[in-house]
């Protein structure tokens, strides 16, 4: 009798616990549901729908037919796609190292020389401006006929340079424009990383007789590695998705020399209405970014081990 009631008691307890849990769960779901709904409707389901569409021939008007890997096969033989991929890779390869190095330089200046808030405040201003505005102002500064930069170049006795209007210079010019917008912002992230290094570490190195340069390269820089890794991976992911600057400043040209992947996708989907084919390109872009992130994480983990 006694044992039974103990079991009953425990059962009751268990039940009351689970009721408490259920109530907790319900409250938790009230907190989570608005964001979860937004995530499902505008992130998760669209991503899956995009994947499904990439196996169809949908053009907004017909009813989509399943065509297996045809879009991907077509893509592998599509010169326009390969050109876009190549242009985008060139952009990333030019953009990320120059941007990271100049940001690192600026961050060191922020931390060691011009520690005032004013310098940091000025350097972040370009990042506050919309890409569209930045692209517009540089289109004007780089204008071949009346732009200020070419006026300066003329003073030195050279002809005007076709910054945004020649196949050789358009992509590097877009790179320059984006570095102008982002270097201060990225410098601030690296600056925060430098600030988080305890002062004693730096001082110890200097007391041990290391000059400021040696201290920087052998102490500060290695300690900044996680920060730099983060900055580089974000810059790579961001650079692969460049669109606004190209759309305003060069419209992908001249002769598709700035026809980056996002521009190709936009044109294919919203001017050519080839939704199936365009989503296939987005999936390739996605796969590339997953690959890069994966390699980067492997490299970082390898770094932790040594």
């Amino acid at each position: 009798m006694k044992a039974l009631s103990a079991i009953e008691l425990r059962r009751g307890k268990v039940r009351s616990f689970s009721i408490v849990h259920l109530k907790d769960y319900l409250i938790a779901y009230v907190f989570i549901i608005p964001s979860l709904a937004g995530f499902a409707i505008f992130f998760a389901i669209p991503a899956i729908r995009g994947l499904v569409l990439s196996f169809t021939d949908w053009n907004l008007l017909n009813s989509p037919t399943f065509i297996r890997f045809e879009n991907y096969l077509r893509l592998s033989q599509d010169e326009e796609f390969w050109n876009s991929l190549w242009v985008t890779i060139q952009y990333v390869v030019e953009n990320v190292p120059i941007q990271t190095l100049s940001s690192l330089l600026i961050a060191v200046l922020m931390a060691k020389v011009g520690t005032s808030m004013a310098f940091r405040g000025v350097m972040i201003i370009p990042w506050l401006l919309p890409n569209v505005v930045v692209a517009l102002l540089w289109s004007w500064l780089l204008d071949p006929a009346f732009g200020f930069i070419n006026e300066v170049i003329k003073q030195f006795g050279h002809g005007p340079l076709p910054f945004l209007t020649s196949t050789a210079m358009a992509l590097p010019s877009v790179v320059g424009i984006n570095i102008w917008r982002h270097m201060g912002y990225i410098a601030l992230m690296i600056f925060a990383g430098i600030q988080s290094i305890p002062k004693e570490v730096d001082e110890a190195a200097l007391i041990d007789g290391a000059g400021p340069w040696r201290a920087f390269f052998h102490v500060t820089l290695p300690l900044l590695r996680p920060v730099l890794a983060f900055v580089v991976i974000t810059a790579i992911i961001g650079s692969f998705q460049i669109y606004d600057t190209v759309a305003i400043a060069t419209k992908g040209g001249p002769v598709q020399s700035t026809w980056v992947l996002n521009f190709l996708i936009y044109k294919t989907a919203f001017e050519g209405y080839e939704m199936g084919y365009a989503t296939a390109v987005t999936m390739v872009l996605f796969a590339i970014l997953i690959g890069i992130t994966f390699i980067q994480m492997r490299l970082m983990r390898a770094g932790e081990a040594d």
Binding site: A28, F31, S35, I124, F146, E151, G184, K199, T282, L289
Partner: protein
């Protein structure tokens, strides 16, 4: 520490800094300078550092102060550009999204940081994963969804994907909520407070700094957004500033773009965000490291 650098090095560093400030600020000055010039002066003396003559006619045109014939004489391209309307659209959209997105993301972030419920880890993992997915992957299906819902060229269409959450906002706030000490909350629970009470009366007041920061970042992002509002909201009645500037630029006649008008438009689009930065700048500057890696 700085004294250990030799004097010439320090001078060189100061020179580089000066150069960087110049590179950063000069283009912005050039926008303002150009916007103040009449059409004739823009092209007759393109290299003069100071505006030779000053006029507000470029701004006047943007505010629709002149009839179209006069405006065209001033260098206009016969395109209607109603700056105040586009500005009000941008402010409206950015304000609504910032308020709702930060509120709902904060609620979600709090659940991930403190509450227990089935699949918590998995759902948060999905949110994190979404940070890596390029935006364009969602753009095409979202466009189709918004079109099917009949929301093209409506504010609802422009705002919908950002209204309820952004994975980054949730992630950013969760990191902060985790770092808050639990003691206050536990004391409140002992006093009989419920979860909502604790969230609104303890967590939110303790988090004004990160909530302010993420609000500013969200506001700036929406303010700057171009591709999505161009896709779903290019009609005049919902057109946002960036979209209007883009269309203004695309419709340049063969004789060349209306640089005076464009630069006046660019200057006016910078102004509100720079004012916002002057007021909240310190907060933004101090929190950028935080938003990156913690």
């Amino acid at each position: 520490m700085t004294t250990t650098y030799r004097r010439p090095m320090r001078l060189l560093a100061l020179f580089v800094m000066l150069l960087l400030v110049l590179i950063t600020l000069f283009p912005i000055y050039w926008v303002v300078r150009t916007s103040l010039l009449p059409k004739s002066a823009i092209f007759s003396n393109p290299g003069s550092l100071l505006p030779s003559t000053v006029t507000l006619s470029n701004y006047g045109r943007l505010f629709g102060l002149y009839d179209s014939a006069t405006a065209q004489k001033m260098g206009g391209v016969g395109l209607e550009f109603n700056f105040l309307r586009y500005l009000s659209h941008t402010i409206f959209v950015a304000t609504i999204i910032t308020l709702t997105q930060v509120l709902f993301s904060a609620a979600g972030a709090y659940a991930f940081a403190r509450l227990h419920f089935p699949l918590r880890k998995q759902i948060f993992g999905l949110y994190l994963g979404a940070l890596m997915v390029p935006g364009i992957v969602m753009t095409i299906p979202n466009f189709i969804l918004v079109k099917d819902l009949g929301w093209l060229n409506s504010f609802m269409g422009i705002m919908a994907p950002s209204l309820l959450m952004s994975p980054f906002t949730v992630f950013f706030l969760r990191q902060f909520f985790i770092s808050i000490s639990r003691e206050l909350e536990e004391a409140a629970y002992i006093d009989g407070a419920g979860k909502f009470m604790v969230f609104f009366r303890i967590i939110v007041p303790l988090s004004t700094a990160p909530l302010g920061t993420i609000s500013i970042i969200t506001f700036i992002n929406i303010w700057s957004d171009y591709m999505w509002p161009l896709l779903v909201g290019s009609s005049d009645k919902v057109r946002m500033l960036t979209v209007a500037l883009g269309i203004f630029r695309q419709q340049a006649p063969a004789t060349g773009p209306d640089w005076g008008g464009l630069m006046a438009g660019a200057a006016l689009s910078m102004l509100p965000i720079l004012l916002l930065f002057m007021i909240f700048g310190k907060k933004v500057l101090n929190s950028i490291g935080f938003s990156g890696f913690r």
